[in-house]
């Protein structure tokens, strides 16, 4: 390891603490704003020296901002693959910036500045991606944090802005506000009652979309869905957030109804399912990540229905991050093969659940 994750305030995972609104159903809220510098080519066409110019300017602007004046600067292009993966597993950087593919070549001067909650990805698909990650369902709070940062660094930088098209982005799907807000939500009730397809279809009809655990192109694991706005132009930031917020509140309501139906019509089936999940997590000696996430989904449902006492949502959140490959490798201090990883994961899971039960 050439860098220390502890340099990031709170390790960048304060959003795990389940302190936010609806923390039992909504894991986290993320809002990002895409910005580009006026006189620089977008990163698809830029040369390494252009990227360095962008990074220098963004760093200087950040030092003059209220939130990031002494934030650590992490050069993603100087990190090993497992270190980049660690940051990605914590949702601090995107898959695009981490470039974890087989032929993945990290973009020159790709960097992250973060205070743990609010941060800037530099030289991602756009020059600047401001982002804020918060615990639970808190769109407005996340956006107001970003608005401050946007104002501060926008005062120092010349952003590419067009009187008609708004903020200009490398991909036209982000132009206008550059705002993408997403809510990571756990919907086992809707999946078990097979209502989920209907809900997702309904969302697509009102201009929203869903993705998996890690954003664009990622799969749905453990019944976690990222719901976000699909369009970024033609509506104000406030309207986009309000619309997404209204729809998420509806989805939460549907999920609660589905859980109610499950408990009313199939209480023994549900109790059996959640306790089995708990039993497997607690006693298994080898666990894949997907299996862990699916079992965690069952236990989380059990906690939500007050069937399983003594387990905190925080522990479940923590497991979903720390049971990932790069995190396990970090805690072991060495690289792990797949079978070894599964054994270490099971041991770690057991330990965390036992600690929680005896607390």
């Amino acid at each position: 390891m050439t860098f220390d994750i502890n340099l990031v305030p709170d390790g960048g995972i304060s959003w795990l603490d389940a302190s936010g609104s609806d923390g039992n159903i909504v894991l986290s809220t993320r809002v990002r704003l895409a910005r580009n510098l006026k006189d620089q080519p977008f990163t698809v066409r830029s040369r390494p020296e252009d990227n360095q110019v962008v990074l220098d300017q963004v760093e200087r602007a950040s030092r003059a901002s209220r939130q990031l004046h002494d934030a650590p600067l992490i050069r993603i292009d100087h990190l090993q693959g497992n270190e980049r993966q660690l940051l990605q597993e914590r949702h601090l950087i995107s898959r695009e910036l981490a470039e974890l593919g087989d032929d993945g070549k990290v973009r020159a001067a790709a960097a992250l500045l973060t205070d743990g909650s609010v941060g800037i990805m530099v030289n991602e698909e756009d020059h600047v991606r401001l982002q804020c990650l918060r615990s639970g369902f808190s769109l407005q709070e996340a956006y107001s944090d970003l608005e401050r940062l946007d104002a501060d660094i926008g005062a120092q930088l010349a952003f590419a802005f067009h009187e008609e098209f708004g903020y200009l982005t490398s991909c036209p799907t982000n132009a206008g506000t550059g705002l993408r807000a997403s809510v990571l939500i756990h919907l086992p009730g809707l999946v078990l009652t097979k209502e989920i397809a209907k809900v997702l279809q309904g969302l697509s009809q009102v201009g929203l979309t869903f993705r998996g655990l890690y954003g664009e192109g990622s799969e749905v694991v453990g019944n976690f869905f990222q719901l976000s706005n699909q369009t970024t132009l033609g509506k104000s930031e406030g309207e986009l957030l309000e619309h997404l917020g209204d729809m998420v509140r509806k989805v939460i309501e549907y999920e609660q109804q589905a859980r109610h139906v499950l408990q009313r019509d199939a209480p023994t089936v549900i109790a059996d399912k959640v306790w089995r999940a708990y039993g497997l997590l607690k006693y298994a000696r080898s666990l894949s990540f997907d299996e862990t996430m699916n079992l965690l989904s069952g236990v989380r449902l059990g906690v939500g229905l007050n069937l399983i006492p003594d387990i905190s949502v925080y522990t479940l959140n923590k497991l979903s991050v720390f049971a990932q490959p790069a995190h396990l490798a970090m805690s072991e201090g060495r690289e792990l093969g797949d079978s070894e990883l599964a054994v270490v994961r099971a041991a770690y899971t057991r330990q965390l659940l036992e600690e929680d039960a005896t607390r």
């Binding site: 080519p41 926008g154 005062a155 799907t173 506000t177 869903f210």
Partner: protein, 164 residues
Amino acid sequence: MQCDQCGERPAAVHLTQIVNDSVTTVHLCEQCAAEKGVQTGATVAKFPLSDFLASMGKGASTQIPVGDDVAECKSCGGTLQDFRDSGRLGCPECYRAFASHLRDLLRRLHGSSQHVGELYTASNAAVDQAAPTVADLRDQLRRAVEVENFELAADLRDRIRVIE
């Protein structure tokens, strides 16, 4: 109930259509419905929107009429063909160089091409040159017409109108 189309599999999709003022209901199985292009909850779940979105920039860019590919952004040298291939524009100036194409594309993607969100006002620190005057723009317009860059000319004309 059996599928009206194949008569073999159980009907899962009940499609009500209004054709020539009369209401008809067709009962289809998942497979026949998919073949007819009827989108069901199941097909939506199978083909997550994320994939659609991921391909959207690229897919949408292929809808740009062929023939204008030679147009080149003066700032970065990018062409519409480059955009069609990658789904990404080369630089902020591309939005001006290809304004009319992008306006159509943005309308299809977002339902509008007019930004109504936060306005960016460049600070003194950031502005490296004063905004062009109407005289500057007229000069540019004349040159654009001379080199037959009508797209740029139209854009400049619009900008002059806004200022005036």
